[in-house]
Amino acid sequence: MPPDAEAVAGQVFAALADPTRRAILAALAAGGPATATDLAGQLPVTRQAIAKHLALLAQAGLVTAEPGERRRVRYRLRSAPMQVAQQFLAALARDWDTPLGALAGHLDRGARSPTRHGGTP
């Protein structure tokens, strides 16, 4: 994976590590684009703090600001960095040890014995 992709994934995970930013991203994912004021109405955080988080999330490329007057600027989640981060998780979540253990068990029991499966992909 290119180092810059790793940096992108790193930013996603850094964003998700903070409960307030996680809540902001979750609210944008669930409800679509929103202003800092909208988000302050949903989350137990001041509008000022949310605006600061949004500015940093925008700088990191995780949200994008739609054109608009100040205070009415709506922020939208950007999916591309999330897709990069998903692949890191996919590599970590891949489990070959369980199915290979099931294969060995299947072979040792003989082809027609009862089965014990290796779980989902």
Binding site: A49, L100, G118
Partner: protein, 143 residues
């Protein structure tokens, strides 16, 4: 070292390559240890399907069939949305080892990125975000 593009495991099995090959490449074999149900059209370009009782289904495309030494297929990356075009390549390599088989499975392609995503993901970010987050934390703590 970055995150892995490739995952590899090797196991020693106390059965000859022909027996292992059948377990890897037949519907009955695959259904016995991998999926709960399986179907396979064993030829390059053929389709195979694995189903699990819990619901997931994996659609495979057979790529390499070199009995009894190499079996390769591609499949979607588990955990990505259904329409995602990314697939990983899985290759089983069987080597005779004494009376048994040394089986290696290698899955690669986790680091690939679909067209457009890489650029889209990388624009607009870049600079020392961790540092700025640290500054934000100090700012909020002081508020």
């Amino acid at each position: 070292m970055g995150f892995p593009d490739r995952i590899e495991r090797t196991v020693e099995l106390a059965h000859p390559p022909g027996t292992v090959w059948a377990a890897l490449t037949t519907a009955a074999g695959l259904a016995a240890w991998f999926g709960d149900e399986a179907a396979i059209d064993l030829r390059p370009g053929g389709r195979a399907e694995l189903r699990w009782a819990g619901g997931p289904t994996a659609e495979l495309r057979v790529e390499r069939v070199e009995e009894p030494a190499v079996f390769g297929f591609t499949w979607p990356i588990y955990g990505l949305p259904g329409g995602d075009p990314r697939r990983t390549y899985v290759e089983f390599t069987l080597e005779a080892a004494g009376a048994g088989t040394r089986l290696t499975v290698a899955e690669s392609g986790f680091a690939q990125l679909p067209a457009g995503v890489h650029r889209a993901a990388c624009d607009g970010n870049a600079r020392g975000w961790a540092k700025e987050l640290g500054e934000l934390a100090s700012y909020l703590d002081a508020a």
